[in-house]
Symmetry: C2
Subunit: 336 residues, 2 copies
């Protein structure tokens, strides 16, 4: 069967551009016994994917030049030579690499797919109940260890992870302060997602003063999604015994040189600060716990969610690039 694929055409230097991707025609082989053919319905695009475009040691192998990009996704079964799946089933990849290739159709061994409950909006599996929601949950609860009355600051607050971090902080009795870019996102945080305060880093030329005003008792937990100058400003306001779950550094992902900035170790010593990098895979054995807790909060109406949905298979590269210019509010997904 003839399909379309989107390949990594060349590794980017710095910010990725359209030319780093190439759309090509390809042929899917005949389905063999025990295999299932799926048609992707939604793809997730995520900041961590920038790292996979480099040829560098990290927690997931890099994309290969000339091979399809892959990302999280939800698909529908179109042909099945397995007794476990039938046409119309909604599925996700549960293989050694839990991704779908950027293609209009793909073949998987049945053992590498899992069926999902389609009474829940399918995109939630990519967001609130998927990697971003679990990332917010474990980073905040396990590393941040929030105590009622503490102040939690989250950067990239209007992103897929950030909006969940702030809402969990509130559920646990903390003051939630979000940092995001632009007046519209800031309004979304306080009006829709119930943050106690939100700071527009694009509109504030004095971030330090803005943080001081929003955090009169200092910062006990800084959930860092962005890194760079924004984090420099927050770090100065960390309290003694503050915790910093390091989730992402999107401000730095496109750096060509090793970025430099103020050294943070001196303040970490004088204030007994803990900083811990993590990826969600570290918590794989506890996904059930996170999924259960998040689902409960959703059913109780305590957590809301927002998504930016782009449309069209051809829009996948543009949607990924859009993450780095802050085009999304909440989780960015592409309906294909």
């Amino acid at each position: 069967m003839k399909i379309k694929q989107i390949l990594l055409a060349a590794r980017p230097k710095g910010l990725p551009v359209a030319n780093n991707f190439e759309t090509v025609d390809a042929i899917l082989p005949e389905l063999e016994e025990g295999e299932v053919m799926v048609k992707p319905l939604y793809f997730s695009v995520d900041p961590y994917m920038r790292g996979r475009m480099n040829d560098a040691r990290s927690y997931i192998p890099p994309f290969q030049v000339g091979e399809p990009i892959e990302s999280g996704g939800v698909a529908e079964v179109t042909h099945s030579k397995s007794t476990q799946f039938k046409t119309g089933d909604k599925v996700m990849s549960s293989g050694p690499r839990p991704f779908l290739p950027w293609a209009t159709a793909a073949i998987f061994p049945a053992a590498h797919l899992r069926k999902i409950d389609d009474s829940i909006p399918l995109t939630y599996y990519l967001g609130l109940l998927g990697v971003p929601g679990l990332t917010a949950y474990f980073g905040l609860v396990d590393i941040g260890k929030p105590k009622a009355g503490e102040t939690v600051v989250v950067s990239g607050a209007a992103g897929a992870v950030g909006i969940v971090v702030g809402q969990i902080a509130r559920i646990l009795g903390c003051r939630a302060v979000g940092i995001a870019g632009g007046a519209e996102k800031v309004r979304l945080l306080t009006d829709t997602f119930n943050f106690d305060a939100a700071i527009d880093y694009k509109g504030n030329h004095n971030m330090e003063a803005a943080i001081a005003a929003a955090c009169p008792n200092g910062v006990d937990i800084y959930f860092d999604n962005v890194g760079g100058d924004i984090s420099d400003a927050v770090i100065k306001h960390l309290n003694f015994f503050a915790r910093v779950p390091l989730c992402g550094q999107i401000a730095l992902y496109n750096s060509i040189e090793i970025p430099v900035g103020p050294r943070i170790q001196p303040i970490m010593v004088t204030r007994s600060i803990l900083m811990q990098g993590f990826i969600i895979g570290n918590y794989a054995s506890r996904f059930g716990e996170g999924f259960k807790q998040l689902s409960e909060w959703v059913k109780e109406g305590k957590i809301k969610y927002t998504e930016t949905v782009e449309e069209g298979f051809d829009q996948l590269p543009a949607a990924l690039l859009g993450l780095f210019s802050g085009r999304n509010s909440g989780k960015m997904v592409v309906k294909v």
Copy 2:
């Protein structure tokens, strides 16, 4: 009674110099009921004291200009108007600030002194069984969480804390690699203190290659006493899930501007690294445990110790300044 005191004459900018100190005559008042007069025997000089010379928020209040410097010390009771102490008793301060003023004699309320057992060398209370030994123990064991077979790198390895860190690492079945300045210190680490390997940062123009050679399986724990360029080189070799107890940043203590260096957050995210600043006061409730374990290891001959002893009350400022040029091997104390 007429005594001598050493005051902070002016706050240093950058590296402290002799002019920042002033020796003056002073008069001690008459001893009152419940008070004890002591004559200091040994003073400790420690890198953290540089921080107290600044007028900055930290975990101990700053020294005041025109007031005596103070530091850890062991003293002998010369006059007592308390039933708890008699002339000749060896004591340490256990007051709200556990320090002795830099003076040839001082008066304390009896409640602010504790008697020490003088069958152990008195200087051990300032080193192996004092703050440096406890710092090594809790930083390595509680934050580093060493597992047998792992590689532990310690910077400032020939210092009062470092030599204990390396020896505890060996006791716990780890590979111990020390970084120190100069061929003599490096030899001391491997020959006397049994480190598996030691790196002379003054003799190595390619620290990264030296670390790679000394740590063929990468670095699992980096006990950081120094910060700066040396730490930059070690951090590149940290393994996934590495732990970094941040104990001191002596390379940066004399900085006037906020020091700048490579940002460490990106590598901390991709390798799930934990970094935690601490001061020994955080473990005050567990000092008994640390003291007991260290004493046992000393009695079993598993930990050795070395000291640099300077002589003379007038030499206190020079001894403190000497820490920043690496004049000491092991704990630096001044016999007065």
